[in-house]
Every structure is written in C-alpha cells, then in structure tokens.
C-alpha cells in the first residue's frame, strides 16, 4: 500500500492508494450518454471518443452512483482491495 493522501477541497477524508482499479467501463456496452460523468462528485469519469472511461479513482468515495445510473450496464463496480480507498472519521 502506498502513502495515504488527501485533498484540500475534500477535507476530513484520507485515501489509501488502491492496489488495482475497482471500477471499469465496458466500452462495448457504453453508449457514451455521459450520465456517469454527471452523477460523480469525485470526477472519476471522463468522455473520450464518445465513450466513458475511468479518468482517476483518486477522489472516489465508493458511493456507486455510477453503477446505479448506468442504464447500459457498462459500469463494473467492485470494492477497493485490502481496506484501501477512502476513509473518514466524520461520517
């Protein structure tokens, strides 16, 4: 596991770097609608060539809004491994 990190604009949260990606987009199913981009507060997704892709999991709070919104079933969502990902004392 790497060093914990945080962001000034998201106080009160620490992230432990994830050993491997836990969200991915199945390009063959993605319709490029952009809904995952619209519902993500952590700026995880971006659209490129009319397909969504994971830009960065650095700010992901594992809320799964992307999973709920994707009508095409293109989002594969699992959990970050071995206790990595975000943590907060203030939930």
């Amino acid at each position: 596991m790497g060093h914990p990190y945080s962001f000034e604009e998201i106080p009160g949260v620490t992230w432990i770097p994830v050993p491997e990606p836990f969200i991915s987009v199945d390009a063959s199913r993605c319709t490029g609608c952009g809904d995952c981009v619209r519902v993500c507060l952590g700026d995880v997704f971006r659209l490129r060539n009319e397909k969504a892709e994971v830009a960065s999991l650095d700010r992901c709070m594992e809320c799964a809004a992307c999973l709920f919104i994707c009508e095409a079933g293109a989002i594969h969502f699992s959990w970050p491994a071995r206790g990595s990902g975000y943590r907060s004392e203030w939930g």
């Binding site: 106080p11 619209r38 519902v39 809004a65 919104i69 004392e89």
Partner: protein, 445 residues
C-alpha cells in the same frame, strides 16, 4: 481460489445492522464471522445520523442497556422557511416539552465510525470473529444455494447461512442473483459538511433541535422539492453536520447534475440564519458524500424484491429497508438484523437453510409493527406536489405533516403498536426505557 475457513454464519458488513446480527448469532453459540471492507468499522459509513428513539426502544436490549457513543440528544425538529434568502418563519411545533425534553429524546445524533466500532466490539465480545480490510466481492453458489463468499484476496469463506448487511450498493445480493440494483430514482446522493462548533454556541443556536430548512425551488437553495431533501442541520456534541441531497434521476427521467449540490450550498450559505448565527461560530472539518436509498419502499417493484434466498438473508439497506419517514435507516437495520439472526439460529438448529424455511424471515419483517410503516410513508413525497403547486402555504402544510406536529398522526399508531407488543412481552421494559433515557443523558452531560 484459496479454500478458507468454514462458519455457521458469515455476516457481510459492519455498519449499523451487521454487528447486531453477528452478536446475536454468536451469543446463540453459532460460529460467526463478521466481514468489513474498511480497516476500522464505520470508516466507510457516511450518514447525517440521528437515530430515532424507536430504534433504541424496540431494537436490541444490549444497545439500550449499554453505553454507546452518542453525540447529543435531540428533542425537537425546527422547520425553518426561507424566502429571498431570509428566514420568514420558524416552526417549533414538533418537540418534547420541557421538563421532559431533552432528557427524554426523540433521537440521538452519532458519528458512524465510533458507533459502528462500538457495535462491532459488542459482536466480538459475544464471540464473533471480526475481519476488517476484507471485502466480499462474490458469492459461492452450489446448486442455486449461497454457500459463502469470495473475498478481495481470492479466499473462499464458506458458511451455512450468509447474512448480507452490505448496504445500498448491494453487490453481494446482485451477484447472488437475488436482487437487482436499486433504481436511480430512489437513490439520493447526499453531500455532507461537518463543522466544528463550540458546545455553548450549539446550545444557543440549535438547542436540542434538528433544523430543517425549506424553500420553494426558485430560491435555488435546495434540490427542487421532490427531487431531493431540504437542508438539514444536525447538532452533535461539539460540531454540526449538514446535508443536502439530490436524486440521481428525477421521476420524469432527467439525470440530475450533482455539481448542483455545491451550488445549493453556496446559496444556503448566503441565507441570513447561516450568515448571522452559524458562520461566525463554525470551522469546516469535512466534506463527504454517499448514496442512500430514499422512497424505495414507495415503489412496489423495489419494495417487493426478495429479502432472502437459498442460504442467504438480507437486512437493512441491502434489503430495501430504508426509512422514508424520518430519513434514517438505522432502526429498520436493527429490527431486521434481530429478525435475521433469530431466523438463522432457527434454521441452523432445524438443519434447514432452504429458501422455503427462510421465508419466515420475510413474513416477520412484514409483521413487524414498525418496519413497513417506516419504509412506505408517503408524506415526504408530498413535497414534489407542493413544489408543483408553487404555493408556500401548501408547502408549509405538507412540511408540518411530514416533519411537524402532524407527523404524530402517522407515526404514533405504529409506535403505539410496538409499545403494546413490548409491554405485553414484559411490562418491566418500561423501566428499562426510562433508565435508558436517564443513562444516555448522563453519558451526554
């Protein structure tokens, strides 16, 4: 795959529900494993959390008789109406009158990390094994029956009954083929702010009240009514929690932009009440977000998804048991955890983990005096209609019915049924309720 240990019961998730089920199974002598994906229970649980009194009164005795880490008793709801950025009406109608309140509380605010940690410790105390930093990423199925989970480390952990307390994301139940993910129309994304604030300032500004702020959509201060929540302020011991939520998708099919949440906050921070009373006294400490199911119980297709299967029981948010009434799912998580544990114990004693045996779980959930009333209360939905009407008097009437004194009209009957049921079992319970209010007050003060 690595073959791991075998247990009578595996509970997935050490949030609010999982540890309750784990403790009650372990106490009955079942070998019980409690799995938690965070390194510390509650570190990945986000909620603006006021646990209503009925969770404590009718939930697990050991919580009621224990010393859980509560933040502050709450004895009233203050509905505050905003127009043109100014407070024009404060309705204090829903509160426990002095001298009973705040010692007799309608709920207690808590932070999830210490509270879930406390619950998980009680499960371990009873003999459950707690494994943190371990996520269940898939299920083991044999002949259609769930027989365990596969962890993020690739380990196979087998069990006779799996209790799924995973929460709203429902990965386990989806992989097990029991449920479909929640529809985005019943999922709210909540953006929370946590501010430090001195106790004396909180006493002066909030007292022991939750503050709910209401405004017509044109204020741009909250998600248009019916598309999200009000602005809520929850007073804690030396801090306040604020939350604004918005549905992922409106009933008319529009996908809502979450960046609006920040804009609602900006607008709210310009209101007179925030500027004059809060702003000079607070210091921002955290900005966090999560999804939660709201109104799922109002949609038949969501409410009627299974809560059990061959070898598996689902509880709390994972079973669709959110509470639309007071925006808090903890009591239903506790009630369903107790019923799940009781059903698992019976099933293992009978040597029958079939879906037909476990169907009694679902029947008991439906027979419970409070669960269905809490998940299918339509009054919060009313606000969508109020917004469409554009009539402030109508909005105030509906707020009063959902969060004001008229809340008693639809909350009192199921609560009274639960009171009656408990007293009939053992009249001494009344003393334990009064003891609880007094002990919690001492813990706080």
């Amino acid at each position: 795959m690595m073959a791991g240990a075998e247990y009578d019961v595996i509970v997935v998730g050490a949030g609010f529900g999982g540890p309750v089920a784990a403790r009650e199974c372990a106490q009955a002598g079942l070998s019980t494993l409690l799995l938690e994906r965070a390194s510390t229970p509650g570190q990945k649980v986000i909620s603006s959390c006021t646990i209503p009194f009925y969770g404590f009164l009718f939930g697990p005795e050991w919580i009621r008789n224990g010393e859980p880490p509560i933040e502050r008793p709450i004895s009233g709801i203050r509905n505050i109406f905003i127009r043109d950025g100014k407070t024009y009406r404060v309705d204090n109608s829903f509160r426990v009158p002095a001298p009973l309140g705040p010692r007799i509380a309608i709920g207690y605010t808590v932070y999830c990390r210490p509270f879930c940690t406390w619950l998980a410790e009680r499960a371990v105390e009873a003999g459950a094994e707690l494994r943190t930093s371990t996520a269940a990423v898939d299920v083991i199925k044999e002949g259609g029956a769930v027989r365990g989970v596969i962890t993020d480390g690739g380990e196979e952990l087998r069990c006779r009954i799996l209790i799924d307390a995973e929460g709203v994301q429902n990965l386990v139940a989806t992989r097990a083929g029991i449920r479909k993910p929640y529809r985005p129309e019943v999922i709210e994304l909540c953006l929370l702010y946590d501010f430090e604030m001195g106790k004396e300032d909180i006493d002066r500004v909030c007292g022991y009240n939750l503050e709910y702020f209401w405004a017509m959509p044109e204020e741009g201060m909250i998600a248009p009514l019916g598309r999200g929540s009000a602005v809520y302020i929850f007073p804690y011991r030396e801090s306040i929690h604020m939350t604004i939520g918005q549905f992922l998708k409106a009933d008319d099919g529009e996908v809502l932009n979450v960046k609006l949440l920040d804009r609602y906050y900006e607008k709210f921070f310009q209101t007179d009440r925030w500027r004059d009373l809060y702003e000079p006294r607070v210091k921002l400490r955290a900005r966090i977000w999560d999804t939660c199911p709201i109104y799922a119980g109002l949609y038949p297709d969501q409410r009627n998804m299974p809560t059990f299967g061959e070898g598996i029981l689902l509880l709390g948010d994972a079973a669709g048991l959110e509470a639309a009434a007071i925006a808090d799912g903890v009591p239903t998580a506790w009630f369903s955890a107790q019923i799940a544990a009781q059903t698992a114990i019976e099933s293992l004693r009978a040597g029958d983990t079939s879906a037909s045996f476990l169907s009694r779980y679902d029947r008991r959930l439906r027979e419970h005096p409070l669960i269905t009333a809490l998940i299918s209360d339509p009054h919060r939905r009313d606000l969508a209609q109020a917004a469409k009407s554009g009539d402030e008097a109508e909005m105030r009437r509906r707020v009063n019915r959902g969060w004001g004194i008229r809340l008693m009209g639809h909350l009192a009957p199921p609560v009274m049924r639960a009171v009656y049921r408990e007293i009939r079992r053992d009249a001494r319970v009344v003393k334990s309720w009064l003891d609880m209010f007094n002990r919690y007050w001492r813990l706080y003060a």
